[in-house]
């Protein structure tokens, strides 16, 4: 009797496995067209979103990553970036900008051809309206830091003024701004998405995020417009035939919520055309697939091991240096990321113009060197148990905390422990916590070593994280020299010269590299895949999905 049971159960499972492996190999749908050939008009492309957007489809009010996907194709801003991360207005609403008066006055000019999807022109009034709304004390969104540099913005926020004093409208497409200080990255920082005044004027500011133009009848100004929103399921975009840059080839872009584990299967089947955020382990399989194009590029984020500088254990610079020498970061990239990443030694992404190539070879994995640095610093193994004791001769160990939510990062924790124990440091690996609890512990200074990551933006300025006064400086790293360098790279007049600014960042990255405020681990590559039937796809530092070139995508009939 028992034999029968298990036989039947096993055969059932075997049958299932056969099906699974069979569909793994089944090549389906979407005969890939070569990238050559004339673009054709028409057709539709489907993007996978792993989670549902919140439905706040306006740049001024949104906060969710997936809302941003929709905004990508429907709203334009004044300033964009080119493939080298230089500011460019070619594909944006801006026309030109000029700094004067010791870089304290900024004059911005807009293009005149752009229209909102309802036909009304996009003018400087809309841009000014956006700034005024953000500075309003009733505004509930997070964008104030993007206008705080305008003189008078803070006063309005504090309720002391009705309007931002530093804004002067010159004509319907030009505005002059007085700034609080000269800042080289003003254009990167400043809020540059206009807000349709004719739609929002008269709506109480605190109601704007939930107003009709934000949630139901979206009026954007870019190459696609919102056709249909099915909350929590999909958004259908259709081509804007009146777009000032020209007509897109595609008729529609559909953004569909698809579970991350299922998305790749859907891509192979041809049901979905674009999948972002592909995991490194999927790379090879998709690469072999004839219908799928997969590309990768160094991402704008990296993982690091944070150091709590308020802990007495981690005050010695040599100890911190030993940490970096003692972790085999190249092996992590090879082993955990399957080579789809790179070792990092600075808070600037590889693709940035500010990236310091000179640091590429810093801190190679060197067990002997790490050990000798430790010994130099006074950490010796006195009792022969394989672990060094503290300078006071007592037992010495370091706690390592890490969060869940990133499988590769979770796997790196025990590897780090192993690496460091090999150079003689006892590591006390804690149980992983989920993100909120983890960061709560970090914020409260309860950790010693901890794993975390940062996402970066095109402008290399590290303020917000590395300044001694920053709230988000969880490292509690206080270095006056570093602060000075950081500030100078933004506010000094030299900073306005990109080549000179690059030099300043070179100095800064090298300085802190020596001091080891944190152990930079690795940058993970951004990997995206799409069906070969989609042509004209540009894949640069933004990936394919967030590129401004959706207007060029086309599919063969």
């Amino acid at each position: 009797m028992k034999k029968k049971l298990s036989f039947l159960s096993i055969s059932f499972i075997l049958v299932l496995s056969v099906f699974l492996s069979a569909c793994g190999n089944k090549q389906d749908a979407g005969s890939g067209n070569g990238a050559t050939g004339e673009p054709q008009d028409g057709g539709k492309v489907t993007l996978a979103m792993f989670s549902a957007p919140q439905g706040i489809f306006n740049p001024v009010f949104y906060e969710d990553q997936y809302d941003a996907y929709v905004l990508e194709y429907t709203f334009d801003d004044l300033f964009g970036y080119d493939s080298n991360l230089n500011i460019s207005t070619e594909k944006s609403l801006g026309d030109s900008y000029k700094f004067e008066n010791d870089n304290k006055t900024l004059t911005i000019k807009m293009k005149q051809e752009a229209k909102w999807h309802d036909g009304k022109p996009v003018t400087i009034d809309d841009m000014i309206f956006a700034w005024e709304v953000i500075a309003d004390k009733e505004y509930t969104g997070p964008r104030f830091s993007n206008i705080s540099m305008i003189k008078g913005a803070q006063e309005k926020k504090d309720g002391k003024a009705d309007k931002i004093a530093g804004i002067t409208k010159i004509d319907d497409y030009t505005v002059k701004l007085e700034l609080n200080q000269a800042q080289a990255n003003t254009i990167s920082e400043i809020w540059d998405y206009p807000l349709a005044k004719h739609l929002y004027e008269g709506v109480p500011i605190k109601d704007m995020p939930n107003a009709e133009p934000t949630k139901k009848n979206i009026v954007g100004n870019a190459e696609f417009k919102v056709k249909e929103i099915k909350a929590n399921e999909y958004v259908v975009l259709e081509r804007n035939d009146d777009y000032w840059r020209g007509k897109a080839h595609l008729d529609q872009i559909v953004l569909k919520v698809v579970n991350q584990d299922v998305a790749i299967g859907a891509l192979k089947k041809g049901d979905v055309d674009f999948v972002p955020q592909i995991q490194p382990k999927e790379f090879d399989d998709l690469d072999k697939n004839d219908n799928v194009e997969i590309k990768e590029i160094g991402d704008f984020g990296y993982q690091y091991m944070g150091i709590n500088h308020e802990s007495t254990k981690l005050q010695d610079q040599k100890l911190r240096q030993a940490l970096v020498y003692g972790i085999d970061r190249a092996a992590m990239v090879k082993g955990l990321l399957k080579g789809h990443g790179y070792v990092l030694n600075q808070h600037i992404p590889k693709v940035s113009w500010a990236y310091n190539e000179g640091l590429d070879d810093a801190y190679p994995y060197d067990v002997e060197k790490a050990k000798s640095i430790l010994a130099e610093a006074g950490y010796k193994d006195l009792n022969g148990d394989g672990f060094v004791e503290g300078k006071d001769g007592k037992a010495f160990s370091l706690k390592l905390d890490y969060p869940t939510g990133n499988p590769v990062r979770e796997q790196s924790a025990p590897i780090i422990k192993e690496n460091l124990e090999k150079i003689g440091l006892k590591i006390d690996l804690q149980q992983p916590r989920e993100v909120a609890s983890h960061y709560d512990a970090v914020e409260q200074g309860k950790t010693e070593l901890y794993l975390a990551g940062w996402g970066l933006v095109p402008d290399p300025d590290p303020s917000g994280i590395f300044l001694s006064t920053d709230t988000f400086n969880y490292l509690r790293y206080k270095n006056a020299e570093s602060d000075k360098l950081i500030k100078a790279a933004v506010t000094s007049s030299d900073a306005f010269d990109q080549a000179k600014r690059k030099e300043m960042y070179k100095t800064w990255t090298e300085k802190i590299n020596e001091d080891v405020p944190q152990v930079f681990l690795y940058g993970q590559n951004r990997i995206e895949a799409w069906n070969k039937r989609v042509n004209g796809v540009t894949f640069d530092w933004r990936g394919a999905i967030e590129s401004p070139d959706a207007i060029d995508w086309w599919v063969a009939k």
């Binding site: 039947l8 969104g141 995020p209 569909k256 940062w454």
Partner: protein, 320 residues
Amino acid sequence: MSQYIVRRFLISIPVIILISVILFSLVQLAPGDAFSGQFDPNIDASYYEKMRKDFGFDKPPVEQYFMWASNFIQGDFGISFRHKVEVSEMIGNRIGNTFFLAITAMIITYILAIPIGIFSAERPYSKIDYTITGISFVGLSIPTFYGALIAIYLFSFYLGWFPYSGTETVGNDYTGMAYILDKLHHVLLPAFTLAFLSIAAYTRYIRASVLDAKQQDFVRTAFAKGLDQKVVLRKHVLRNALLPLITLFGLDLGLLVSGAIITESIFSWPGLGRLLYEATINRDYPILMAGYMIIAIFVLIGNLIADILYSVADPRIRYD
């Protein structure tokens, strides 16, 4: 009977209050709050401070509870900390979907498990009975996550019979029957996956219940009266054997709704389960409180309905 209902209703009130207190305490006890780990260094830190203050995080928990409670009673579920959207709006969209999924799963369970269970009980210890038992055990052991993926790969990608995401076809403009059919087409696979575990459990349960009922003396009496197999089964055995199902029904609805989390996730089914899971990670307690309170209320209602149904179906149970 109506007295009974009123009494049950009144008892439910302190139960619900207690549930709300427990829920609230659990959320508060978890380390971190809605804004921990949710930082963007390009945003001024004071923004998060302001948010924390606006939502009353600096107030003592008891005060926060009463703030929440007084709003809740008036129908104001508050605003999601993370998403700044009205909770009632976030839940409203999704709750219908979850119930649709849960009820379809229940119907599928009943349609399949009852006949299979009876079938099994009619020929106990036979080859086919063992086969069904074996499959039931497999069903009970497969983790939902895995089962859902298998279902998608098999029935959606490989066979192409069912869609794998959403409640409707993208961009459709169906009306009437076509619309209903489209929705059914979309719900069937996730409902079946969700039901699989229930079907396995119910089949075993019904089999045991029917086998037990068949041993009863009154079944022998029925045969002694000259009634045939079919009539005895339907009128005498089943009416007794299926009574316990009514009790299960009350519990099941609540279980299904919360158990649908994983299924909803894999199938990108826009339901309450997924929302609550994310809200838990995000410490978004307005959503959590509203969501779980709704589930609790439905479980209580489900139980009440089950008890009432039971008294209708079983004459031995009467509430006076």
